[in-house]
């Protein structure tokens, strides 16, 4: 399988603490990769380093075989990696359509094309009818869908979603899950940070488990749930009954 994204010995130190320690993660083309791990495991830092918001101390990131280590966020986005944030960052003074248009600005020639692309992306997540509303007027789940529409508009191939389902009810999470699955069928690749077991099992093809800045194991969701090291990482050693 071809690797779309590959990190090699990626390391980042905050003060005396290794937020990431020699992390090797690969994302295969057209898969949905889950990234899990306890709080402070380095999941969001990994996203921040990949997308250029934080500079890595060591190691490198390859996308499509090209070294993109240390590029600024906007360049990485234009290369084809777009991310969402843990806390939704909608542009509250702009309408939904305008929000999505921001993502489409750099890949379209003129405003007309930009607008139609944004409309298309809103429709892909099922928000076509709400395009002239403001983010303050829509529900939490629609905000999360809006965030996905925004990254779609950037023409990125790889979408990094940082807890795209946090704060949603199971039924609402299912809407996001089916949206992501539908997009995957259209050729997009995903890496998602998730916590909820139910979501992970439904959504992910493969899982990477981070703990204290290192990858401790990787495999299918069902393998991971039974893995001793994963249980230890989450619950402490005494719970890891074999």
């Amino acid at each position: 399988m071809r690797l779309l994204l590959e990190t090699i010995k990626l390391s980042k130190k905050f003060g005396g603490l290794w937020a990431l320690k020699k992390v090797d993660v690969g994302v295969e083309d057209n898969e949905i990769l889950g990234i899990i791990g306890p709080n402070g495991a380095g999941k969001t830092t990994l996203f921040n380093v990949i997308t250029g918001f934080i500079k890595a101390d060591e190691g490198s990131v390859f996308f499509n075989g090209e070294n993109i280590t240390g590029l600024p966020p906007y360049k990485i986005c234009r290369k084809g990696i777009a991310r969402t944030f843990q806390l939704v960052r909608t542009f509250s003074k702009l309408t939904l359509l305008e929000n999505v248009m921001i993502g489409a600005l750099s890949t379209t020639k003129d405003m007309k094309e930009c607008k139609s692309k944004a409309e298309e992306c809103l429709q892909m997540v099922g928000l076509g009818g709400e395009k002239s509303l403001f983010p303050t007027e829509i529900t939490t789940i629609d905000c999360k869908l809006l965030e996905i529409a925004k990254v779609l508009a950037t023409s990125a191939k790889l979408l990094l979603l940082d807890e795209a389902m946090v704060g949603l009810t199971p039924t609402e999470a299912d809407v996001i899950i089916s949206t992501i699955q539908r997009l995957r069928e259209q050729g997009y690749t995903f890496a998602v940070i998730e916590h909820v077991l139910r979501t992970i099992r439904k959504l992910c093809d493969r899982i990477v488990v981070l703990h204290n800045g290192s990858v401790i194991t990787t495999g299918t969701p069902d393998e991971m749930i039974k893995d001793r090291r994963v249980i230890e990482a989450y619950l402490g050693e005494e719970y890891a009954v074999t």
Binding site: F53, P72, Y74, F85, R89, F91, M101, I102, G103
Partner: protein
């Protein structure tokens, strides 16, 4: 858009020429559009990009002093001096913009930094008195020729400032993508960067464009009043007045500053006429109270209020 602006300006100019109102009315109208123009250029960086600048007197003052000094010392027509003023303002904008935006200085820190910039420039203009005339300022030589951006009839200045204003509004109207990038930056820089917006470059361009337009406003000011001094064109008061007008009118809208200026300038002038002579300074108190009430009732400016009502 362009035709509407031209039509409006032509109509206004015609009305003024036909009715021939007292000079004071003409002065107020020119003043309204001067502030509309200068505040609209401030709004590119202060409103759309959300980087509240108190440094615009630097650019306005450089525009005023550059064209004036070239005119007084070398006889260069201020029409040409205007471009030299723009160049000077661009350089000054790059000088403050590059370090601020490169190192992520924004919000209150950007405001403080630019305010200091204004104060430094005012002091420099005071200190180099052999060149600038220091605190005495410069009284421009009278030529009364349009070739030298002067006229004995103040009405002539109205179509001039209106054309500047049209150019500015129309350019910003056309730069739609640029405007959307600025709005995204104002809302959240990281989110904008994550969507492919080159935050540093867009902010810097905004400041450069804004500075260049402001400098033109400065040249106009010098030619219209035929007198400049450091306190009026380089002083922090001007920075505050510009900011007030923009916020009052609405910083989210292309026409917000123009509307703000159209309301505040007449209020301020009328209060000054009514109360200025008798109770010195009292008009400022009332002006301040009106401003406070407006900001409390319409925190996002008049245009935002109107567009919500619609």
């Amino acid at each position: 858009m362009l035709w509407k602006l031209i039509l409006f300006s032509a109509a206004l100019t015609t009305v003024i020429y036909v009715t021939n109102p007292p000079p004071y009315v003409v002065h107020i109208i020119i003043n309204i559009f001067w502030f509309a123009y200068v505040t609209s250029s401030w709004n590119i960086v202060g409103g759309f990009a959300g980087q509240v600048s108190l440094g615009h007197p630097v650019f306005i003052g450089l525009g005023a002093y550059t064209s004036t000094l070239l005119f007084m010392n070398y006889g260069l027509s201020p029409w040409l001096g205007l471009f030299c003023g723009m160049a000077a303002a661009l350089a000054a904008a790059a000088l403050i913009g590059v370090p601020c935006f490169r190192f992520g200085i924004r919000g209150p820190y950007f405001a403080i930094g630019t305010l200091a910039y204004t104060m430094v420039m005012e002091q420099l203009a005071m200190a180099f008195r052999e060149v600038t005339g220091g605190g005495f300022g410069i009284t421009l030589r009278r030529i009364d020729s349009l070739l030298y951006f002067q006229s004995a009839d103040p009405k002539v200045y109205l179509p001039i400032i209106l054309s500047f204003w049209i150019v500015l509004i129309y350019i910003m109207h056309r730069l739609q993508k640029f405007r959307y990038r600025l709005l995204a930056i104002r809302e959240n820089e990281d989110a904008a960067a994550a969507l492919g917006v080159n935050v540093f470059r867009v902010k810097l361009y905004a400041l450069l464009i804004s500075a260049a337009f402001s400098a033109v406003g400065g040249t106009f000011y010098a030619q219209y009043y035929r007198y400049i001094d450091p306190a009026t064109v380089f002083g922090p008061d001007l920075a505050l007045e510009i900011m007030l007008i923009a916020i009052f009118g609405g910083i989210y809208d292309l026409f917000g500053p123009t509307i703000g200026s159209g309301i505040l300038i007449p209020i301020s002038e009328c209060l000054r006429i009514l109360l200025g002579g008798r109770y010195f300074g009292s008009y400022l108190i009332i002006y301040g109270i009106i401003l406070i009430l407006c900001v409390l009732r319409l925190p996002e400016g008049i245009t935002a209020y109107l567009s919500k009502k619609r």
